[in-house]
């Protein structure tokens, strides 16, 4: 079950959140706008990885289509913006509603299956969404859609500048972490974790696990959709490419190398994945080769992921 973290690793986590909190000041001071960009992107993908971890790490539901929700969230900014609707609350509610509905329908079907079949069917649904957007000429099809202005919010919480957008992302990250922390320790969370280990046993204990798993799937999709709203605002450009299933594969990688079933792991996974990608591509054009090798090594030797190394601090 979710193990209580020792004091040392808690200090590391809190220290990291503090650093993330003051990062924009550091980057401004050292005049590194590119790093702020990279970190913003890393945190958005990090939130998506956290949401995937909720179903994959805690619930044992391996979805190979989770970026569909990232894409839907982004299009919930892009399509209204195309019609000159920039109200941020509309974008957010639309993303929540659409992701919840799509997750409810596809989850209701997918969760009837287990194991490899679940992987295949979630992938199929996300490819469906991918091809739908690919065929929507009105919204740019495979050329994508440019978003000319960011979602509008009251002045004190606007996301116009790079720094204020960063704090939106940081805020959603904190909320997501706190929410998942509470969720997995609640009665609901215990049912989800229990059904990962032994679904049949949970049913024999009187839990109608299908309903709980479906609820968890919808929650996870909504969180990912919110990350998508921020992604749409961040890139100012959306295209179906961001929903291709290979992206979902990358997201799974981030969760695994970070530590599936741990609270902070997927965030570490996402950040190290993106920074490594960036750093290696600076060194050589053959960086994919090194990157692939590193990923293999991490999976083979880094059992439990980055989070497991950190919790060794407590011993």
């Amino acid at each position: 079950m979710a193990k209580p973290s020792g004091t040392r690793s808690v200090k590391v986590y809190l220290g990291m959140l503090f650093l993330l909190g003051i990062a924009p000041l550091l980057f401004q001071w050292t005049n590194q706008p590119f790093l702020l960009d990279l970190l913003s992107r890393g945190l958005i993908i990090g939130i998506a990885a956290l949401s995937l971890n909720l179903i994959l790490g805690y619930g044992g539901m391996i979805s190979l289509g989770h970026v569909a929700y990232l894409g839907i969230g982004a299009y919930c900014v892009g399509i209204p913006a195309y019609y000159d609707i920039y109200d941020g609350w509309i974008h957010l509610s639309l993303a929540i509603f659409t992701c919840a509905l799509f997750a409810l329908i596809t989850g209701a079907v997918s969760l009837r299956t287990k194991g490899v079949y679940f992987i295949m069917i979630t992938m199929a649904f996300s490819q469906m969404i991918y091809f739908i957007f690919l065929s929507l000429e009105e919204y740019g099809a495979d050329d994508g859609l440019v978003i000319y202005a960011r979602s509008e919010f009251p002045i004190w919480m606007n996301m116009e500048g790079a720094v204020s957008l960063y704090y939106w992302i940081f805020g959603l990250l904190i909320l997501t972490l706190f929410f998942i922390h509470r969720l997995v320790r609640s009665r609901f969370g215990r049912v989800i974790i229990g059904s990962k280990y032994n679904d049949l046993r949970m049913q024999s204990l009187g839990f109608n696990t299908y309903g709980y798993r479906l609820t968890c799937y919808v929650i996870s999709a909504v969180i990912c959709g919110l990350a998508g709203v921020l992604l749409g605002n961040f890139t100012s450009f959306i295209s179906p490419e961001m929903m291709s299933w290979t992206r979902s594969g990358e997201l799974i990688f981030m969760v695994i190398i970070g530590g599936a079933g741990s609270l902070f792991g997927p965030l570490f996974g996402a950040l190290s994945f993106l920074f490594l990608e960036e750093a290696l591509s600076l060194i050589t054009i053959y960086w994919h080769l090194i990157f692939g090798g590193l990923l293999i090594a991490l999976v083979l030797f880094g059992k439990g992921g980055i989070d497991a190394w950190l919790s060794k601090l407590d011993k």
Binding site: G194, Y197, L205
Partner: protein, 257 residues
């Protein structure tokens, strides 16, 4: 006469049939378990004992026949629904949650009996509503002093005891125990017999078991299952002296052992 019979039996199985391919795993089984007793089902390997339990708990759907629990047909209810209706099952292959502590396992069973679990916010670990009840049942099986141990680190016998505690924690009317003594040593078996005779004083039990000493010292009623058919149902003393049973099961098993 029929009225009193009905009121007396908690579980009645009527002409239950289940085929796997050409094999009759359950062949026209009719059985009635009376309230408050321990009813044991014995039979050689492959007689269809676990298949029978699986149909009672709702894991497998029978081809035909009916199962009444507490006067109502439960044939259409799923596993979770039957469990909440008061029919708790333990498994032949130990299926406790190895990654959790003893207490967490028992708390999960209590939680299953306590209505819905769509509670997303309050943490479970200081939920006394769950922990107190769970501890009571751990005390019954004698695991209360080790409640913080991770289950993968305790002995097989203790895991079986936990299995019984979890069945009890569901606060059922009736327990379906699938070979509670499976894989146990002599001493662990004695311990389990003690526990079950305590439990049997309060709950109705239907158990499937290989261990004859355990069966003879615990059960009030015995049914003998051979090739999916019940060939006899009677009191322990009667069954022991039944020549047909001697021939087809008891004698055979003694020779093999």
């Amino acid at each position: 006469m029929k009225q009193t019979m009905r009121a007396d039996s908690v579980l009645s199985i009527k002409s239950l049939c289940k085929n796997f391919g050409g094999i009759k795993a359950t062949d026209d089984v009719t059985l009635s378990v009376s309230r408050g007793g321990i009813h044991a089902v014995i039979g050689p390997n492959g007689a269809g004992k676990t298949t029978l339990i699986a149909q009672l708990s709702g894991q497998i759907r029978p081809d035909s026949g009916d199962i009444e629990f507490d006067g109502r047909s439960i044939l259409r209810s799923g596993m979770a629904q039957r469990a909440r209706a008061g029919l708790a099952r333990s498994f032949q292959i130990t299926s406790v949650f190895l990654e959790m502590t003893i207490l967490e396992n028992a708390m999960l069973a209590v939680q299953g009996a306590q209505g819905h679990s769509y509670r997303f916010w309050a943490p479970v670990h200081n939920d006394h509503e769950l922990a107190d009840i769970a501890m009571d049942h751990l005390m019954t099986v004698g695991l209360h002093h080790r409640s913080e141990r991770i289950v993968s680190s305790i002995s097989h016998g203790e895991q079986r005891q936990l299995e019984v505690a979890m069945a009890l924690a569901m606060q059922p009317q009736m327990l379906l125990l699938d070979e509670p003594m499976a894989g146990m040593g002599k001493e662990e078996t004695f311990r389990m017999i003690e526990i079950l005779s305590l439990v049997g004083a309060e709950k109705t039990i239907l158990m499937v078991e290989h261990d004859m000493d355990a069966v003879f010292s615990l059960a009030d009623q015995l049914s003998v299952l051979v090739n999916g058919r019940v060939i006899a149902t009677d009191s322990v003393a009667q069954i022991r002296s039944n020549p047909e049973v001697q021939k087809s099961y008891l004698g055979g098993s003694c020779v093999k052992d």
